[in-house]
């Protein structure tokens, strides 16, 4: 099953994602302009974009475990998924700046004073160098440092999940589920052997 899926996927060009994945953004915008996002379209748009960004980040995080544990190979699509996630975080931020807060003096105040905004912002800032280096030239240029740099993804996604949990009023289920999935996907990356060796090294030193 997985083999035939992999074969089928090999025929899908990665560039298709750059056409398909932006479509929801246009759809959300269209809904917002035509009353389809309810009585408060600004918050709704902001939330839709944020949620889709987080989902894409999580899918990106799932690529490696899917290959390791299920044999499903999506590596070819990972760059497009990551870049599209960044695209949605950027739109999410833009919505916040232009439609939501509006007031210039309040923007900086919110970034410093509101922990959930600070954390979301940190997530966005971490994603910037990752987006800028998501091209073949940078991969060649940076060599092994590229892989190291892109480990920042883990932290960025985690910050995104925490950001969501913090902004929810009361104890809500959805942000907890997202955070749980993120933590799970990160935990799958811990290799017990490596960890033991590292701890061993440290205690030996």
């Amino acid at each position: 099953m997985v083999d035939s899926l992999n074969t089928a996927l090999r025929r899908v060009p990665a560039w298709l994602l750059y056409i398909v994945l932006p479509l929801p953004a246009f759809w959300f915008l269209y809904l917002g302009l035509t009353g389809g996002l309810g009585a408060e379209p600004i918050k709704a748009l902001e939330q839709e974009l944020g949620e889709f960004a987080l989902q894409l980040l999580i899918v990106g995080l799932a690529v490696t475990p899917l290959r390791r544990f299920a044999g499903l190979n999506l590596i070819r699509f990972r760059r497009a998924i990551g870049l599209m996630a960044f695209f949605y975080v950027a739109l999410h931020l833009l919505t916040w700046l232009v439609l939501d807060v509006q007031i210039l003096s309040q923007i900086w105040a919110d970034i410093v004073k509101r922990p959930y905004i600070t954390i979301g912002m940190a997530g966005f800032v971490l994603l910037v160098p990752l987006a800028l280096t998501s091209n073949n030239w940078s991969v060649r240029r940076l060599g092994p440092r590229w892989r190291k740099l892109h480990k920042l993804t883990y932290l960025a996604v985690l910050l995104g999940g925490v950001h969501y949990l913090m902004l929810a009023k009361g104890l809500q289920l959805e942000p907890l589920l997202y955070l749980g999935v993120i933590l799970g996907l990160l935990a799958l990356r811990i290799e017990p052997g490596k960890l033991r060796r590292r701890i061993g090294r440290r205690s030996a030193a």
């Binding site: 309810g38 009023k169 809500q172």
Partner: protein
């Protein structure tokens, strides 16, 4: 005691001709016409406010008993049965007991009150409520002299209010007012909107409306009112005391720890709605500021 406060906007400004008082609203409404002549002078006038549309008011709600999304209550609240309904009034009152909703309505004077409604989440609406003054209901029960506070409780019925199966808040939802706040002419129990029965998602069949406080104080679908001499616990204060105080008066100068309260967005302005400044006590400063004289409103949030 009814009609102690008047809008400049009248029923005819708000209610389209095709929408009319239906039976439940009419019972009290008819009494209101009879009593209006006896009422004392009306309090400060409200400047002309444009009420939100029915659809905005009834599809954008916080009512966690039906889910935490703004559109969840409109989708899920049909499960709630509001007939029969009674309100238990107990504690420090002369005539404690269960008051059937119909009996309450037969004895109350229903008026229209067009109020600003300011959510703690920094959005707002203007709602043309129909309702009666809470003071009239409390007087019906006979408030004893030692009473200082009024506690309120929402229906607890997880079978119909599925949100109560999740520990988002402690259930049932509870709220409270100081007695002078409860007796204030602006404080009403709303039973209708735009002359129609109040929809379930807005707190049917009767809910508190305290227009100078953040919306969560205006507890919905009330089944119990208790007069007491102790400050009663309130749901959001229990959930997060640092963010939600007992008073929760609308105050543009005291920010919520996670966002500014200096401005708000009026629902209904679409994707490019501008923010508008939030008014002290939500624009009812003249009427209610005296209640809090000498209190540090940064401390008593």
């Amino acid at each position: 005691m009814a009609n102690r406060w008047k809008n400049t906007l009248t029923e005819t400004d708000v209610t389209p001709e095709t929408v009319y008082l239906n039976r439940r609203q009419l019972m009290g409404g008819a009494a209101g016409i009879g009593l209006a002549g006896l009422a004392g002078p009306a309090m400060a006038q409200e400047d002309a406010l444009e009420p939100n549309e029915w659809d905005d008011i009834t599809t954008y709600n916080n009512f966690y008993e039906f889910g935490t999304g703004k559109d969840d209550p409109a989708r899920n609240a049909h499960a709630l049965t509001t007939d029969p309904w009674s309100v238990k009034i107990d504690g420090m009152v002369d005539n404690p007991g269960e008051f059937a909703f119909e009996d309450i309505m037969a004895r109350m004077t229903v008026e229209e009150r067009i109020y600003r409604f300011r959510c703690v989440e920094a959005w707002s609406m203007v709602v043309p409520w129909n309702g009666f003054e809470l003071a009239d209901l409390l007087n019906l029960a006979g408030v004893q002299s030692g009473a200082k506070y009024v506690a309120f409780e929402t229906l607890y019925r997880p079978d119909e209010m599925w949100g109560q199966k999740y520990p988002v808040l402690e259930w049932p939802y509870v709220e409270g007012l100081r007695l002078d706040e409860a007796m204030h002419p602006l404080t009403i129990m709303a039973t209708g909107i735009y002359g129609r029965d109040i929809p379930n998602q807005n707190g049917a069949p009767l809910r508190l409306v305290v227009p100078w406080k953040y919306g969560f104080k205006s507890i919905k679908s009330v089944v119990r009112i208790t007069l007491t001499d102790q400050e009663p616990p309130t749901s959001w204060n229990i959930a997060n005391g640092r963010e939600y105080g007992f008073y929760s008066n609308v105050n543009p100068e005291v920010d919520h720890p996670r966002w500014s309260q200096a401005s708000e967005r009026r629902i209904g302005g679409g994707l490019f709605a501008r923010k508008i400044p939030t008014l002290m006590f939500n624009g009812y400063e003249e009427e209610v500021a005296s209640l809090y004289e000498g209190m540090d409103l940064r401390k008593f949030i």
